[in-house]
Amino acid sequence: MDFTIDSEQKALVKAVRGLITNVYDSSETRREATATDPGFTAWEKLAEMGVLSLPFEASPVEVSLAAEELGKVIAPDPFVEAIVLAGGLIDALGTDEQKKQYVDAVAGGEILPILAWMEPGRRWSADASSVTFADGVLNGVKAPVVQAERADLLLVTAALPEGGTGVFLVEGATAVETTITNDGGRAATVTFGDTPAVQLGEGGDQTAAIESALDRARIAYAHEALGAMETALTTTVGYLKTRKQFGVTLNTFQALNHRAADMYVTLELARSTIMWATIVAADEDTTPEQLATAASHAALQTSVAGKHIGLDAIQLHGGIGMTAEYSVGHYASRLIAIEHLIGDADFHRARLAATVGDHDVFDPIG
């Protein structure tokens, strides 16, 4: 068991941090970026630095370290969505030819792929139901699909005629209705009407691969959230130290300091679980079931901790924390969004409940 990172990984962290804090050098810069479509501006630089190739060339550890740095400034670039999730699925399922066609282009930032998997009225199931594939075409509606309009390539989960769920590739125009998400991003309702599509990979039921890709993405999202929580706490502590009321700085008030201490407790516990989940994902002996368990543990910590830290960061700031010009509100917004992208606390509790009775003591390193 080793939680430390090596010198190369440290160098990666430093490089990503340098890049991303340069692009989003203030809350205002990020706001400007999200105000204009597609809502993010670091993509080319991330491609140039090789960050977009991490899921294909490095381990989940490097992916998570990068995601955490992006989370610290809540970079709006769809690294987890496009690269970890959609890109990861191409890498996992694609035929040699498909990989050849797409992987380098995705890693190079030339093609932005997006996985359209969620369906209206359903809750984070890996299988598709309302979108179906038959006779070479897709029909049905997917929503919300993050960055669907900007995407060059949609990966669409669809119910197969013979049962099971497959992943299908759609390039070019589809009926997309985009809205601004509550964290300043973009998401769309995508409607397929006899839309021609080819299946990714060798065909057949791909539900298990989709589930594992989602679990890897959940872990990366958890790291993004971890970065966001850390900044939210740091910002709050800084505010308590400097903001004066009634003639004294806010850290004169013990009740506020203790609230900040509780946020720190939450943060450090979440950090441990989230780091561990990455280590589980990086281990070559990990089974899909172990990956699912680790992802759900990380997601549950992320949901509960994200809400605690995000919302208390606003409360401890008072009115300023409610404004779009100040940073912490955006961190809370992003943390709430991540919770509903990875599956909320109820969802992951139910997922873990299915197996919690099968073991005695849960051993994270066993």
């Binding site: 969620m118 209206p120 009225g121 359903r122 809750r123 984070w124 929503a143 919300p144 993050v146 809205t179 601004i180 998400t181 509550n182 964290d183 991003g185 998401a187 903001r243 004066k244 009321q245 009634f246 003639g247 008030f253 009740a255 506020l256 919302l311 606003i314 409360q315 008072g318 009115g319 924390g321 409610m322 404004t323 779009a324 010009e325 509100g329 955006h330 809370a332 917004s333 709430i336 969004a337 509903h340 992208l341 909320d344 109820d346």
Partner: protein
């Protein structure tokens, strides 16, 4: 002890329910119930419908349109209004500046402002908070210097809710910078927002909405007859204003209506059973809150704020937020684009404004528990 309302209060309640569910335009109530965006026009039409029936400003003196109601009746009025999805009268007019003018203003100022205030012909904004003051209201720095028949006002106010719609603004200004205590030397001034030198700048909130503003005063000349009461007595009037607003502080009717809507939504989505325990918990807590509000209303004598007002504020804000949280979770993945999430984010304000929950705990510890 008695469970039922008295026959009189029961009849009153039915009258209110009848009025609110039939005499206030349906479009307004539908927008409220379905969590839509409320327009300025809807707020004005709603209040004018109430005012036409004499139901807009029951807390005012009878000669200015008020009702000689008991606190319990005022509670019922507010509760039924919220349950029916009626927009309550604009607080700045009905609960804030109106009572101050009616209590401390000259006859001339009353006649000039009260009828228009009750009918929302004048839309009032509030100019209390300042950027560096926060919860420390008395630390305000906006000045008003006498110059002949005018005050010249300079400074900045912030968190001015719906200031973009405002016709007039009531302000706390510092008229005596040399007063020995910061609470002294403050005056209560009424300012026409079209006066030269006054500008309103929107503040965008984290839900993307524009609901609060900064208001800047750059040598704004205000006729001395716009002073309410006496010069340098403004802090007294402000305390009166802040202590006055205790009916409806818990927003319990709105939360109850929202919880009922959430039940319907959960049923529609086929997830009612999954959320039943959480709904029960919220209903149990809302019931406790409603009953506490009734106790406070029934037990309030005269104009003294009941000490339990802070309890209503803390729990009321927590439950507003908790019900809102339920809506977000019901949305599932759609929460990332849902208006419910923006409402949830916007609702973070209710535990901050009007004396944050930390301030309320301080009040309970100090005033009630003697700690």
């Amino acid at each position: 002890m008695r469970l039922q309302l008295s026959a009189e209060d029961q009849a009153f309640r039915e009258e209110m329910r009848e009025f609110f569910t039939t005499q206030v335009p349906q479009d307004i109530r539908d927008t409220m119930i379905n969590h839509g965006e409320i327009t300025r026009d809807q707020i004005v039409r709603s209040q004018q419908a109430l005012n036409a029936a004499g139901l807009a400003v029951p807390g005012w003196p009878v000669e200015w349109g008020g009702k000689d109601w008991t606190q319990l009746q005022r509670h019922i009025w507010h509760e039924e209004m919220q349950l029916a999805g009626v927009i309550p009268p604009l607080a700045f007019n009905a609960s804030m500046v109106g009572p101050v003018i009616a209590t401390f203003g000259s006859q001339e100022i009353k006649e000039r402002f009260l009828p228009a205030t009750a009918n929302l012909d004048i839309w009032w904004s509030q100019g209390f908070s300042e950027p560096d003051a926060g919860s420390d209201l008395a630390g305000l720095r906006t000045t008003a210097v006498r110059d002949g028949d005018h005050y010249v006002v300079n400074g900045q106010k912030t968190w001015t809710t719906l200031g973009q719609y405002g016709d007039w603004i009531f302000c706390l200004v510092r008229t005596d910078p040399d007063a020995p205590k910061k609470q002294m030397g403050i005056s209560f001034l009424l300012i026409d927002m079209k006066t030269e030198g006054l500008t309103v700048r929107p503040i965008e909130l984290i839900d993307g909405g524009h609901e609060v503003n900064e208001v800047f005063f750059d040598n704004v000349r205000v006729p001395v007859e716009n002073l309410v009461g006496e010069e340098n007595k403004g802090w007294t009037y402000a305390k009166f204003l802040l202590g006055n607003e205790r009916v409806g502080i818990a927003q319990v009717g709105a939360s109850q209506r929202n919880l009922a809507t959430a039940k319907d939504k959960a049923k529609e989505m086929g997830v009612f059973d999954q959320y039943a325990s959480r709904i029960v918990d919220l209903e149990n807590q809302l019931n406790a809150l409603e009953l506490t509000a009734l106790r406070v209303a029934a037990g309030s004598a005269g104009d003294k704020p009941h000490p339990a007002s802070s309890v209503l504020k803390i729990k009321g804000s927590q439950l507003t937020q908790a019900v809102s949280d339920l809506f977000v979770d019901l949305e599932g993945p759609a929460a990332i684009t849902s208006r419910e999430t923006r409402i949830f984010l916007n609702n973070r304000k209710v535990s901050i404004y009007g004396g944050s929950n930390e301030i309320q705990r301080q009040i309970i510890a100090g005033t009630i528990l003697g700690l």
